[in-house]
């Protein structure tokens, strides 16, 4: 809502205030003033001039040579390019020395050999938005009505010596979608009276009811309909002051009748509609739900398909307006209109909202109906519109109005105690402080033993319960005056859950290993949603996505991370290590909501070790990625529960991918992205992993229990084994560990050899075995005994021979 500071003074005394100080007060009391626009900002030296002569420029077809009286000693010559400039017009002239928006300074000039002492201005040139300028002046200069005084400040005449407050209204404060509503708010803040417009009722002897009948067939959606009839109207531009006020409020002037309905909409917050009585095609208005397949062409020339959800005004046979949204072209007020019907009605918010949504028509009118208008202003708004039409369009108002009224208006009456207010706000207001707040708001209030009984005016439809009154009290009391305390109730221990702690530890471990945390989108394309999924489930799709690219919920994180790798690679950032912890979404049969499972995923590519000047470089390989995971499992205490198994997975390198198992269940995988996919995405060798973090975090972990530091030395034996190339190191390791008995404390592989010196189909694996006994010093015999068991076991179970 745009509020003209000057206009607002019609309803409330603003003496002692500036637009800025008032804005601060309004903001502090609950309606945010989002901006204050000084209309004359950057404008200087524009006066009203009278075009005395106009002739074509001798050297230019499209220029006019004008002699203009600007109130000085003698008229000045001005060259003007506007097509509509003519002798006798009163126009806005930027004289020599004037400044126009954009710091455009007007100087004496010669145009094609002719002197020009200033510029005749269009409204655009004076900083008014094109969309607000009446059609007649859209492409040329603005022409004033004849009664303006030559030499007078044109900015004043155009109402540009004004400031406009832009109110950011929250949905509950639709009462301030009117100047009167704002006046009540400002009146309450300043403790000043609100002055209503005066209506001088002048009516002819002819009765409105003889001209038109009104029938409402949907009284629930339209409990009140008031029609006024005005005869002998002469359509013309509305008075300049009204046009400038409309423009300040962001509405484009049309003609006197339409402008007056818009003016009342702004003044009262009551939308009105004007019908051309003669174009109506009948003598009745029937308000009903539209029939299926019924159509209407609205004022904006759009043909609209109606349904039984929409409320329409009809002439008895066909729609002439969509109630509360927009009028029909068939009954529009035009230049030759002489008799008008003014509709002032109360339409239910829901039915207007539905129509406005279905037809994508948001009008000033629908915005107000949707949020609820003050039922007590309907009649008066219609009355005032009729009187203004008689005043500014020369019409005669017929006696009375035609009404259908089934509306019951019951103002809300709410009781609240002083204690409740103070307890909820933490304040210590007195009875009289609270009472004075309600009085300033012009609410009815009576006090009985610290209990207030408040009668809420119908303009404040947002106030229905105690809490609403607490809010009114708080904002008028001033939030700055509320004390500052901290909750003092029950003491509660603050902490993270076990799961949340594990997530933080996982993050730190991955980061300590060199990975940066990425956060990517949950929404992705249908194609990507299922790639690399751990569970082959259907993805969850949005009903109305904004684009295909963001239409499904992800089942895995890797495709998103590969996008990130691709993005960075394209910018010469080749060495990357990224991880993400986030949810994936799995459709569940028979459940309303998908399963949301937290995953941890990573992508690593390029160089892992980069020693610039030493010249050593180590590219990322499978074991780098696996090493990162091992560190993660170690941090979470899962090392003993984890296994790896060679695996083939779509999109992954068939020889360089492992499933990760937690207590025998696959919880994810690690490996190289398939070279074909790498090529498609323009990636270098990239390793990825994705695991169910949920599974990891929920696995049981043993508490830490100290074990004694060994007091006796250990004995290490190394063995090199010859095995088939198909034998995997992990299996041998397990065999050794099982066979070594309780003296064998550690087994680690330290060499792998596959080469010329081996028999075809064979390779050598070397292990280091560490034996020790916590109770005593081991003897060679002890170790040899255990070691022989190991050798026997690997031979028997894996056909391994000691390498000679």
């Amino acid at each position: 809502m745009f509020v003209s500071y000057k206009w607002l003074q019609d309803y409330v005394d603003l003496s002692g205030m500036t637009a800025t100080t008032l804005s601060d007060k309004i903001t502090k009391s609950g309606i945010e003033v989002e901006g204050v626009e000084k209309k004359s900002e950057g404008l200087k030296g524009v006066v009203i001039g009278h075009v005395l002569e106009r002739e074509q420029h001798p050297n230019a077809d499209k220029l006019n040579k004008c002699l203009v009286d600007v109130g000085g000693e003698s008229p000045v010559q001005i060259i003007c390019g506007a097509p509509n400039v003519d002798k006798g017009q009163k126009v806005a002239v930027a004289t020599v020395g004037a400044v126009l928006p954009g710091n455009f300074k007007i100087k004496k000039a010669k145009l094609r050999g002719e002197e020009s002492n200033g510029m005749i201005c269009s409204l655009q040139e004076l900083g008014i938005e094109s969309r607000l300028i009446a059609k007649d002046y859209a492409t040329g200069i603005f022409v004033f009505p004849n009664d303006v005084e030559v030499g007078q400040d044109a900015l004043e005449a155009l109402g540009l010596d004004d400031e406009v407050l832009e109110l950011g209204l929250t949905p509950n404060r639709s009462d301030c979608l009117s100047m009167l509503g704002v006046a009540y708010e400002v009146g309450a803040i300043l403790g000043r009276e609100v002055k209503w417009p005066e209506i001088n009722k002048v009516e002819s002897a002819e009765k409105a009811t003889d001209f038109i009948q009104v029938k409402v067939e949907a009284s629930e959606d339209n409990p009140l309909y008031v029609a006024k009839v005005i005869k002998n109207v002469k359509i013309a531009p509305s008075p300049l002051w009204m046009q400038t006020r409309l423009m300040a409020a962001g509405i484009r002037p049309h003609n006197n009748v339409v402008d007056i309905t818009n003016y009342i909409l702004l003044e009262y917050g009551q939308p009105l509609h004007a019908f051309d009585y003669d174009r109506l095609g009948s003598k009745e208005l029937v308000i009903r739900k539209a029939h299926a397949a019924e159509k209407i062409t609205t004022l904006d020339d759009g043909e609209r398909d109606l349904s039984s959800d929409h409320l329409v005004i009809t002439n008895g046979s066909e729609p002439v307006a969509i109630a509360g949204v927009m009028g029909g072209a068939n009954s529009e007020v035009q230049d030759d209109t002489t008799t008008v019907i003014i509709e002032a009605a109360y339409f239910a918010g829901t039915v207007v909202r539905k129509a406005s949504k279905d037809h994508a028509l948001r009008s000033e009118s629908s915005a107000r109906f949707e949020k609820g208008v003050d039922p007590n202003r309907v009649r008066e708004a219609g009355e005032r519109a009729a009187q203004l039409i008689s005043q500014y369009a020369g019409g005669t108002v017929l006696e009375g109005s035609v009404e259908v009224d089934t509306l019951t208006i019951e103002p809300a009456v709410i009781s609240i105690t002083l204690e409740k207010i103070n307890k909820l706000l933490g304040t210590s207001m007195t009875v009289s402080e609270v009472e004075s707040i309600f009085t300033r708001l012009q609410f009815g209030v009576s006090v009985d033993n610290e209990t207030f009984t408040v009668t809420v005016p119908t303009r404040r439809g947002d106030i229905t319960i105690e809490a609403d009154l607490v809010e009114e009290a708080a904002r008028m009391y001033g939030y700055d005056n509320i004390p500052t305390t901290l909750p003092t109730g029950t003491v509660t221990p603050g902490h993270l859950t076990d799961y949340q702690q594990k997530r933080r530890k996982a993050r730190r471990t991955l980061e300590g290993a060199g990975l940066y945390q990425a956060i990517t989108y949950s929404l992705t394309s249908k194609n990507k949603a299922a790639q690399y999924a751990l569970d082959a489930r259907e993805s969850v799709a949005l009903a109305m996505p904004m684009s295909e690219e963001r239409s499904q919920l992800r089942l895995s994180i890797i495709p998103q991370l590969l996008e990130v790798v691709k993005y960075n690679n394209a910018r010469q950032l080749d060495s990357l290590a990224l991880y993400e912890i986030g949810s994936v979404f799995l459709k569940q049969d028979g459940e309303q909501l998908p399963e949301e499972r937290e995953h941890v995923a990573g992508a690593i590519t390029g160089l892992w070790e980069l020693n610039q000047w030493q010249g050593e470089k180590k590219p990322v390989d499978f074991y780098v990625a696996k090493g990162v995971l091992e560190a993660l499992f170690d941090t979470l205490g899962l090392t003993e529960q984890i296994d790896y198994r060679q695996s083939e997975k779509e999109g992954m390198h068939p020889g360089r991918t492992a499933d990760v198992l937690l207590n025998g269940d696959v919880i994810g995988f690690v490996g190289q992205v398939h070279p074909t996919v790498q090529k498609e995405l323009d990636l270098k060798e990239t390793y990825v992993f994705e695991l169910s973090f949920k599974a990891m975090a929920e696995a049981a972990v043993e508490p830490i229990q100290y074990s004694a530091i060994p007091r006796f030395p250990s004995i290490t034996r190394d063995i090199a084994l010859v095995v088939d190339t198909t034998t995997v190191a992990g299996d041998i390791q397990k065999i050794i560990a099982e066979a070594g008995g309780k003296l064998l404390k550690e087994v680690s592989v330290f060499d792998l050899y596959e080469g010329e010196r081996m028999e075809p189909g064979k390779k050598s694996l070397a292990y280091s075995l560490k034996y020790f006994d916590p109770e005593r010093t081991l003897t060679d015999e002890d170790v040899t005994k255990a070691h022989e068991k190991v050798l026997a076991a690997v031979k028997e179970k894996a056909g391994a021979e000691l390498r000679g």
Partner: protein
């Protein structure tokens, strides 16, 4: 005999002084002090001496031996030191060359903000509550006093999946779920960080996915002044003690009275600039007293209990805190962006 000893001593000491290598010195030791050396020889010749002279001579031999040994030792120290120094001189390196890089990653800046806020509130006795990102219309809207026809639903156009389920538009449904779990029994003291989704075209200031942190306290006697105090603690912690705080009445369907918190603009110091749109203030937070309908719907007796709730946009905080000018940076994950947040700041 005595002369011979003097001679030997001089000779030996001369050689010690001239020796320039440890090996040479060792040869001198063996030559003069060894079993086959000339001094031993002199000792052997002592048999010819009288019983009176023998001890005198013996003493003299010892003095000479000791003198030579001492000098050799001294010289040895000198030579050893020189050898060590020579070795160290060769081992000299260029200490200005860079060290071997240690791989080091870090939090995403949004996580950084979230953890900072979590820790602050954990310190004040809150726990961290989380919930699903796909929500029912009930928890996302209706339980929060936003019935289907409510005009405020326009304020947050949403991604629906079915008529009854959608991507949550705020983390408030976590509050609704937590309250429900408490079965009308206070106190509740939680903060809820998480991803939320709205139907916005991605541009410099809008993102269809973003993060929020909301807080909720329900107990007997919770008041607006408690909210004010809590949010002041928060704003000072996150934005710095020198920031001024302004409270403005506002409107949210799930709180009443509602409040918005502005902090003084860091960029212009409150004078007005393009970031604060000339007002000198930047909106960072919304909150209020929990609406009685919300309490009642979750099973709390609104006559006994009251509460406050607040919410902040994580990206907004990060943008203000670090001067990030485009919200899309947070989701592009350009490593040149991510690596800027890898250190401590006071």
């Amino acid at each position: 005999m005595q002369e011979r000893l003097q001679e030997l001593q001089e000779e030996a000491l001369q050689k010690v002084a001239e020796a320039s290598e440890l090996k040479e010195l060792n040869d001198i030791r063996v030559a003069y002090l060894g079993k086959k050396g000339p001094i031993t020889e002199v000792l052997r010749g002592m048999g010819k001496l009288s019983a009176e002279e023998r001890p005198k001579m013996g003493a003299l031999v010892n003095v000479v031996r000791e003198e030579i040994a001492t000098k050799i030792e001294e010289k040895q120290k000198v030579l050893e030191e020189a050898a060590v120094n020579a070795k160290l001189a060769v081992e000299k390196i260029d200490v200005t060359l860079p060290g071997r890089p240690v791989n080091k990653g870090n939090h995403h800046p949004l996580t950084r903000v979230i953890e900072e806020v979590e820790d602050l509130f954990i310190g004040m006795g809150y726990t961290v509550a989380e919930g699903p990102e796909v929500e029912t219309d009930f928890y996302n809207f209706e339980a929060l006093n936003l019935p289907k026809s409510h005009p405020a639903r326009d304020m947050q156009d949403s991604f629906y999946i079915t008529e009854e389920t959608l991507m949550r538009t705020h983390t408030s449904p976590v509050q609704a779920r937590t309250m429900e779990k408490h079965k009308g029994q206070g106190p509740v003291k939680i903060i809820c960080p998480g991803k939320v989704y709205r139907r916005d075209n991605d541009d410099a200031t809008h993102s269809h996915q973003f993060m929020q942190i909301e807080g909720l306290v329900i107990d007997e006697n919770i008041s607006m002044s408690d909210l004010k105090g809590t949010l002041e603690v928060f704003a000072k912690q996150v934005f710095g003690k020198e920031r001024e705080i302004r409270l403005r009445p506002s409107f949210f369907p799930f709180t009443e009275p509602s409040v918005e918190i502005d902090i003084s603009c860091k960029i212009c110091g409150g004078k007005g600039c393009s970031v604060c749109k000339g007002t000198g203030w930047i909106e960072v937070l919304g909150g209020g007293i929990v609406h009685p309908n919300v309490l009642e719907m979750a099973g709390f007796d609104s006559k006994k209990y009251s509460g406050f709730a607040f919410g902040i946009g994580v990206e907004r905080i990060a943008m203000l805190k670090y001067g990030v000018d485009d919200i899309r940076h947070f989701y592009t994950n350009d490593v040149r962006f991510l690596t800027q947040f890898n250190r401590h700041e006071s």
